[in-house]
Amino acid sequence: MLSKFFYHYASPQHFYPLAGRLWPWFALGAAGLGLWGLWLGFFVAPTDFQQGEGYRIIFVHVPVSWMSMIIYLAMAFWALLGLTLNTRLSGMMCRALAPTGAICAFLSLWTGALWGKPMWGTWWVWDARLTSELILFFLYLGYIALTNAIEDPRRADKAGGILALVGALNVPVIYFSVKWWNTLHQGASVSLSRGSSMEQTMLTAMLVMALAFWLYTIAMALYRVRGIILHRERDAKWVRTLPDVAMVTNGGTK
């Protein structure tokens, strides 16, 4: 029963309408939770007694940093599925996730710099987490560049899949090696880790925002994968008989 469900929707033709039905709901959820989380973060959560108002950037910074790592894991998952089961949709999902992952990694670095300037007095430190986030951003760029450079879509998907898996194996190695490198160089480094005594409303706001970014990522991936499916299957009969596509092509030819 369940496997039948998966086999059915592993076909781009069947997944296309499902994604079309689902993504507006995820987008709506992301917008709603995002507004709620921002309201909690900016108006309800108290001012931090050490960091003042500047700490409020964590309501964006922490969720995008989490998402940048989770999206890479999700890409590795789809890559593994695509390489082992040879499903076409997996590669498309992988490629649909990559731009959002790159944006999250970039936002994480950017908001981190905005937070670092008032807190540490500098835009950038070669802290283990910052450095590994930067390298993660490079890995996303490498994936996007490679898949865009290869013209044959099936080779692009699989080559990207191999790269995503090699990268996923490397991410923990990079993180621990950078951590080791950093502790060897600076005795008293600036620590990002705060005490566990986080105010309850702050934690709620952050978790709500994290959930909002989850839903945003899913909505964007589904939206983007619809475009990729249409482009790849543009010569297939089912695409040409889609109401939207048929209307456009008929309007053009008549």
């Binding site: 490079f138 450079a149 080559a159």
Partner: protein
């Protein structure tokens, strides 16, 4: 195993017939190492501090320069397809090509590094560790680089693309390679760094030929 040695011999022989390409990459390493003191200033204490990092980054870039040639010629004249059909197995033959790449572009750097290290006023035991770290580390560079070379084979703009793919993956090797020399200079001892570098070399030796062969099959199919 005979297929393995045959490919190593063949690649080395072919490269020896066109020595310029091999020598260019080596001279790149020497020139880069000579440029840094000109940019930083001749202060010997500063130079000694930055020497491990500079020599390692130079080695890393020099090793990357020759990656484009790793499979390109064999791909162009169809040899690679015959290798994919050979009874020895593509994975073994890819491993042989990586060994040949290391002999041609990694080993010369290992031999040259102590000489360049002396220019940076590195003490004798640090020179020894620098050579050892490059000896263990440069095979990792060739192994990881082979994956990048296989993925970008026949792709438009592949030469630039390979840098973007491979350099982030080189980070752990760079950290532990240069870190070993720095640890030796600061008196901490380099054995921990070298052990981890060795572990990375062994893991890469197992996984990289396999991943590179898979990527090469993709290039041959399309």
């Amino acid at each position: 195993m005979s297929g393995f040695t045959a490919v190593v011999k063949r690649d080395v022989t072919l490269a020896m017939r066109r020595k310029t390409e091999v020598i260019t990459a080596i001279f790149f390493f020497v020139v880069v190492a000579a440029l840094f003191p000109l940019g930083i200033g001749p202060e010997m204490t500063t130079l000694r501090l930055v020497a491990p990092g500079i020599l390692w980054v130079g080695a890393l870039l020099a090793s990357m320069l020759s990656l484009g040639r790793l499979f390109a010629a064999d791909y162009a004249d169809g040899t690679l397809e015959q290798m994919a059909l050979a009874p020895t197995g593509l994975t073994v033959l890819v491993a042989a090509k990586v060994v040949a790449h290391w002999l041609l572009s990694g080993l010369p750097l290992v031999v040259l590094a102590p000489v360049l290290g002396m220019q940076f006023n590195l003490p004798a035991d640090a020179l020894w560790i620098l050579t050892l770290s490059l000896l263990i580390g440069t095979p990792v560079l060739s192994l990881i680089g082979a994956i990048g070379a296989a993925l970008t084979l026949g792709v438009r703009g592949g030469d630039v693309l390979i840098a973007l793919l491979v350099l982030p993956l080189y980070v752990p090797t760079l950290i532990f390679g240069a870190g070993a020399v720095q640890a030796e200079i600061s008196g901490l001892g380099a054995s921990a760094h070298l052990s981890i570098l060795m572990a990375m070399a062994l893991i890469a030796a197992v996984l990289s030929p396999w991943a590179s062969a898979a990527a090469l099959r993709l290039a041959l199919e399309s």
